[in-house]
């Protein structure tokens, strides 16, 4: 990527950008990896994020951002290949293994991650976490589903309404 000035002077190396988390931690990362985010891509194309400037991300804390960047760095080469028609089966299997392990994390981290992926518009990461959460609620009772998705227990009125719908969908509970 031939930017007029290449970040903090790593001549010949890939262009770097700096991202700043909500708790003011600075992350230096290759522009290609950060560009997996649709939101960041435009700023980066405009030459933003280089040098001492950095791009502030007021909605993402450092723990979440470091996890997001771990994903982006791993997926950037395949994304650069345009979905990687020439990726080998080995490469694809390795990415799949990485993905499976990557979402094998605490639920609260998972939720911060999907919110960040949504804000930053990182499609692959959104999809990966959404699939993981969909698997987590599989086979659970309605009350467990609520709790898993961070919803407080229902009021008596809501409970009554839910009970009526449960009878309507009796087949779903057999």
């Amino acid at each position: 990527m031939a930017a007029p000035e290449s970040g903090d002077g790593n001549n010949g190396a890939a262009r770097m950008v700096t991202l700043i988390s909500s708790d003011n931690t600075r992350f230096e990362v290759e522009a290609a990896a950060a560009s997996l985010s649709q939101t960041l891509q435009l700023t980066i194309l405009d030459g933003g994020g280089g040098g001492g400037d950095g791009i502030p991300l007021p909605n993402v804390d450092s723990a979440t951002l470091s996890k997001v960047l771990e994903y982006c760095i791993k997926h950037a080469p395949a994304a650069a290949n345009g979905g990687a028609p020439n990726a080998t089966a080995v490469d694809r299997a390795e990415l799949e293994r990485f993905d499976n392990e990557f979402v094998n994390i605490d639920q609260s981290v998972l939720y911060s991650l999907i919110m960040a992926a949504h804000n930053l518009e990182i499609e692959g990461l959104q999809s990966l976490v959404a699939k993981k959460v969909a698997d987590m609620i599989k086979g659970k009772s309605p009350m467990e589903i609520r709790r898993t998705l961070g919803f407080p227990d229902p009021t008596p009125e809501e409970q009554a309404e839910m009970n009526a719908h449960m009878l309507e969908y009796g087949w779903a509970y057999e």
Binding site: I114, A130, G139, D153, P154, M162, W171, A172, Y173, E174
Partner: protein, 407 residues
């Protein structure tokens, strides 16, 4: 039907964990629910919270979910609903629909001019019903209705106006029978999604004529007309006409909201009606297809898929072809697979993404010991037994009923 397990009193909730988690916003919940593949699962989620229910039943969500997941085959309709049987994946839901939905449509819609309504087609969970005079000597346009068994809502169609019949230069005494098909709109908005078209094809001694009803306008219009002699003049190698002078067309197959295909009996050709352009054309089949039944589907990436079957044999040939505008002779059908069947079968129909076969199970002594309906999924080529068949059902037209539910 067992009531769902009441779960709030018994299990002490992991309160701490639950209250620490952020409540996920709607757009994130949608991303998650879109990836739920099981319909039972989606139904359970919709009963967990009023906000989940609102999200899941929103037409915009259902459209996106449908675009990702095929309908679930639940059973078939001839004179009654026959649910899929275990271990078919639609068996549980299909079984409970017997009680839930109003499949006995004759109880729910007013009588037509003659005795009873019969189901003639099913598409997107809606039935196309017909009530006809059953008078073989004199053709009369039947009453038609479109009915949704889940909502019990119906719409009676107006008659095809005499002026329209006259303008199509169609003489009633030359019509032998009428075939009707339901075509759903492939629209992207809620309005477009609920709209439908009914294709009525008159089959006569000299020609076949199509009239099209649109739910949006509420009117019938002339679709297209083609004379048997024109097909012969176009050089098609057609079988001799029946004693009455008409050609025999095999049942129609259509899948993609835009084209309907009829196999021309005794020939290597199909007759195609383009619903958007409102015109007929013909398409060549591979050689030696005079006796075969075929079902044609859109296969993605500009290809068509065709399933071709010789009646009373135990295999299906799967072909594909590159689709091109004018149906030119350059593209050739490619044989992709030969799919073995568990017994000798006949084709009996197709529904969004499935071909249906009636299987005849014979004993070693070659006596018929039972019949069963099989579905072949177009995308995965997966063959599944839907349900057994009574001898009684044999010979009556069967219509597969599948649904995305929540429609």
């Amino acid at each position: 039907m067992a009531a769902p397990p009441p779960s709030d009193e018994e299990t002490p909730p992991p309160v701490l964990e639950a209250t620490l988690l952020p409540r996920l916003p709607d757009e994130i919940l949608e991303l998650i629910f879109l990836r739920v593949t099981s319909y039972a699962e989606l139904a359970r989620i919709s009963t967990a919270s009023t906000s989940f229910r609102r999200l899941i039943l929103a037409p915009s969500f259902l459209r996106r979910h449908r675009a990702r997941h095929p309908p679930l085959l639940l059973g078939t309709i001839c004179c009654h609903f026959h649910p899929a049987e275990q271990p078919h994946p639609g068996a549980r839901i299909g079984g409970s629909l017997v009680h839930l939905a109003a499949f006995s449509f004759n109880n729910y819609i007013p009588r037509g001019r003659w005795s009873r309504w019969d189901c003639r087609d099913i598409r997107d969970g809606r039935f196309l019903l017909m009530c006809d005079s059953r008078d073989w000597r004199r053709f009369v346009f039947p009453d038609l209705a479109v009915y949704d068994p889940l909502s019990k809502r119906y719409r009676l169609l107006p008659l095809v106006p005499d002026s329209l019949i006259a303008s199509a230069q169609l003489q009633m005494n030359k019509i032998q029978h009428l075939e009707v098909l339901l075509v759903s709109s492939s629209g992207h908005t809620e309005e477009e999604e609920k709209s439908f078209q009914v294709i009525a094809r008159t089959h006569g001694t000299e020609r076949t004529v199509i009239f099209v009803f649109s739910s949006n306008t509420g009117h019938w219009i002339f679709g297209a007309s083609i004379a048997w002699d024109d097909l012969r003049a176009a050089g098609l190698n057609l079988a001799p006409a029946t004693p009455t002078g008409s050609l025999s067309l095999n049942y129609a197959q259509y899948d993609d909201h835009s084209s309907i295909y009829w196999k021309l009996d005794g020939s290597d050709n199909v007759l195609k009606f383009d619903v958007n352009e409102m015109e007929f054309s013909t398409m060549n089949l591979p050689p030696d297809h005079t006796r075969q039944s075929v079902a044609i589907f859109k296969a993605g990436e500009g290809r068509l898929a065709m399933f071709s079957h010789t009646p009373y044999t135990a295999y299906v040939n799967h072909y594909t072809i590159m689709q091109n505008g004018g149906g030119s002779a350059t593209a050739e059908w490619q044989l992709e697979n030969v799919i073995p069947l568990p017994c000798n079968c006949t084709f009996i129909g197709a529904l969004q993404g499935y071909v249906f076969l009636l299987g005849y199970c014979h004993s070693k002594e070659e006596t018929l010991v039972g019949m069963a309906l099989y579905s072949l999924e177009v995308k995965t080529l997966k063959l599944e037994r839907v349900h057994g068949m009574q001898n009684l059902d044999h010979g009556q037209s069967q219509h597969a009923y599948g649904s995305w539910l929540f429609s």
